[in-house]
Amino acid sequence: MTVRAGALDTAAPRVPAVGRRRSAEARLGYLMVAPAVLLLILLIAYPFLMSLYMSLTDEYVGTPGRFIGLGNFVYLLHDDVFRQTAINSVLYTVVAVGVKTVLGIVLALLLYALPWGSRLFRGVILLPWVIPTALSTLAWWWMYTPPYSVVNWMLMRLGVISQPILWLSDPAWARIGIIVVNVWRGLPFYAITFLAGLVAIPRELFEAAETDGAGPLVQFRAIILPLLRPILSIVVMYSTVFTIADFEIVFILTRGGPMNMTHLFSTLAFQVGLVSTFIGRGAAITLFIFPVLAVASFFILRLVRAGEEYA
């Protein structure tokens, strides 16, 4: 049986006015998001695909490279400096994010419980987050560097130490030093976000708990923590991404030293890819961040879902 096109046209149901309006709105919707999608493609997808391509070549800056497959990745897995950098990055991220989470909750609870001056304190604690990182890190460099280290001067005056700490020269102290700066800078974001979550918890829940005889610790464990869990998870995930990709703090304070003990993926990629001009290998180093972040995101998102079920 053959059917004429005209017959099909007539057989098609008429699109009602409401449907046409919705279709026009859908088109307008696509149009509205198009600039954002375009920006995403230009600013994220293009550089990502370029670095993916470069990581598969032996390209040096200014000279075209040859395709070498996974050669750069295999090389890096056998490279002492890269392995040290991977350990540094994971250690830096886990410790910094962990400390920021704990201190962030403590600070949020303190701000929540403040009887007066809450707004003032909220404004003041945001300062480290608002000041440009490069500027504040330069101030930390000055505070750490001998012979002018005011941190050492203060600790010696307080009798905490008898000898100056080699903040940027001793491998262990240099690691602690960069983590301290990261925590100092990131803590306000954690505290303010957690505070917003705390404020959103209905007061009736605390009143009911108090009536039932629950103390502050039980209230924290049974009310605050479960209800904060979704916000907590999102903040931790967001912070993990930014902490593992950190650059300025290490670049200004130690440039990866002493003995490569503070190099992170981004600073090593900078040194190999731009300073030493091996841009193919530098690109491969940056791409190692992705699997680490994927694993972290997977576990954190699972935690979010668990929080939603609980809530």
Binding site: L28, V61, M259
Partner: protein, 434 residues
């Protein structure tokens, strides 16, 4: 007030978003065409000189050349540590300045991206030459001059004469010291609370302080063919020596950046460090009382000679430059004797010329504190010598392989032989001999 429906709002908002996105692009395009129609602008990138009085002079000279030629001319200053990344970014994106400063082996690294400068070099060598041998080693690549060797600065030792006098050493005695002699004096100076210091960290000053030690003991990273020769008794001897000197230095040498030894000396704590005259120059410009205590002496000698490391600055022109001939003219202008003499004076003698007749400048003779700086008594070399100029030497220099070798050994992280083996592995990777 007129009511706006949701649909109207969406339309207006869409139009506004479109205008916001397209507007800047259209304006940027318009701006570019306006600029293209005007006079050319010749731009240059230069490091922010460690002797601050040099920067304004260079700005004035570049602007003056621009006025004479009827064009815009500008020099941008970037910190020395950021120069390699900046150059790499310009080479990769094929946009940026017309004239760039090139460090030690950059001419070999960026050969394919730079305009040959044979004509400029020939002109200037005819007028003020011949060049010191180092110039050809660095900038004559593949049978062509890829860059013009403008000036260099080298690393003798800065001493605080007041502390040395206290242990019975005049400047001439310090100038005659061997490395072993230095270690003996360093013990007394350390006991006085005025230690000696050489960076053993991931900074360029560490390269320039430690390569001469390696060379003077007879150690080399590579031979003339580029074969790796670091694993030798001579290298081991130099590391064993550094193990003796390290406990007499402040431990923070492991984390110093390029300002670390400057701070040691300017704070009045340090007694000896390898550095160009910028420490003295800063004290001089700021009228610090300590200025009178500073002097310069040659690097100590070892069993196989006395060496001094040098950092070099050559001028190159990108192939993507739209002002190649103008840029060459600016290079000629900056390198001619009237301008060069002013540069030496503004840098307080820090800038040393590659062209021998420019070195006739009386400045170094007039300033007693610089008598050991220019001309150098030591053998002048660059880290990477005596191997071929190129990527291997640049990678080893930029990744601080030699300072890391010493650091791993003196901190006990590795034994001497393990540290040498580690460095050998890194050198093989850098020189493609793995």
């Amino acid at each position: 007030m007129r009511k706006v429906t949701r649909r109207q709002f969406l339309r207006y908002a869409g139009a506004a978003a479109g205008a916001a996105t397209a507007g800047p692009l259209m304006l940027a395009g318009r701006g570019a065409s306006v600029r293209a129609a005007g006079a050319p602008t010749v731009t240059m990138i230069h490091w922010s000189h460690f002797v601050p009085s040099f920067n304004p002079l260079l700005e004035r000279q570049v602007a003056e050349w621009g006025r004479r030629k009827g064009v815009e001319a500008r020099v941008d200053f970037v910190s020395y540590a950021d120069i390699p990344a900046r150059i790499a970014a310009e080479a990769q994106s094929k946009t940026g300045h017309d004239i760039i400063m090139l460090r030690v082996f950059d001419a070999a690294l960026y050969e394919g991206n730079l305009v040959p400068m044979d004509d400029v070099v020939a002109d200037l060598e005819r007028q003020w030459g011949p060049f010191r041998p180092l110039a050809r080693y660095l900038d004559y690549v593949g049978g062509r001059w890829i860059a013009f060797p403008w000036y260099f600065w080298s690393f003798p030792c800065v001493i605080n004469t007041a502390y040395w006098r206290k242990i019975g050493y005049g400047t001439e005695n310090v100038a005659a010291l061997s490395w072993e002699g230095l270690a003996g004096a360093a013990k007394q100076l350390s006991d006085m609370g005025h230690p000696v210091g050489v960076a053993v960290s991931q900074t360029f000053d560490a390269d320039d302080g430690l390569y001469p030690l390696l060379w003077s003991y007879g150690g080399r990273t590579v031979d003339q063919k580029g074969d790796i020769v670091i694993d030798s008794k001579e290298t081991a001897d130099s590391i064993e020596y550094m193990k003796k000197l390290f406990p007499l230095m402040p431990r923070e040498v492991l984390g110093w950046d390029d300002a670390g030894n400057n701070n040691l000396m300017l704070s009045g704590r340090g007694s000896w460090t390898p550095n160009p005259p910028s420490i003295w120059a800063v004290a001089h410009l700021k009228h610090l009382p300590i200025e009178g205590d500073f002097d310069h002496v040659p690097m100590p000698h070892g069993p196989r000679g006395r060496f001094r490391s040098t950092s070099t600055l050559s001028l190159g022109i990108w192939k993507f430059s739209k002002n190649i001939e103008l840029a060459k003219d600016l290079v000629r202008y900056l390198a001619s004797k009237p301008q060069y003499d002013q540069q030496v004076e503004a840098s307080l003698g820090y800038n040393e010329p590659f062209l021998s007749r420019l070195a006739d400048d009386p400045y170094w003779k007039q300033h007693r504190v610089l008598r050991f700086y220019e001309p150098p008594e030591e053998t002048l070399e660059v880290p990477g010598w005596p191997g071929p100029a190129g990527r291997g030497a640049a990678l080893t220099y930029n990744l601080f392989t030699i300072p890391l070798m010493y650091a791993k050994a003196v901190t006990g992280q590795m034994t001497t032989s393990q540290a040498i083996k580690w460095a050998e592995g890194e050198l093989r990777k850098a020189y493609g001999k793995g």
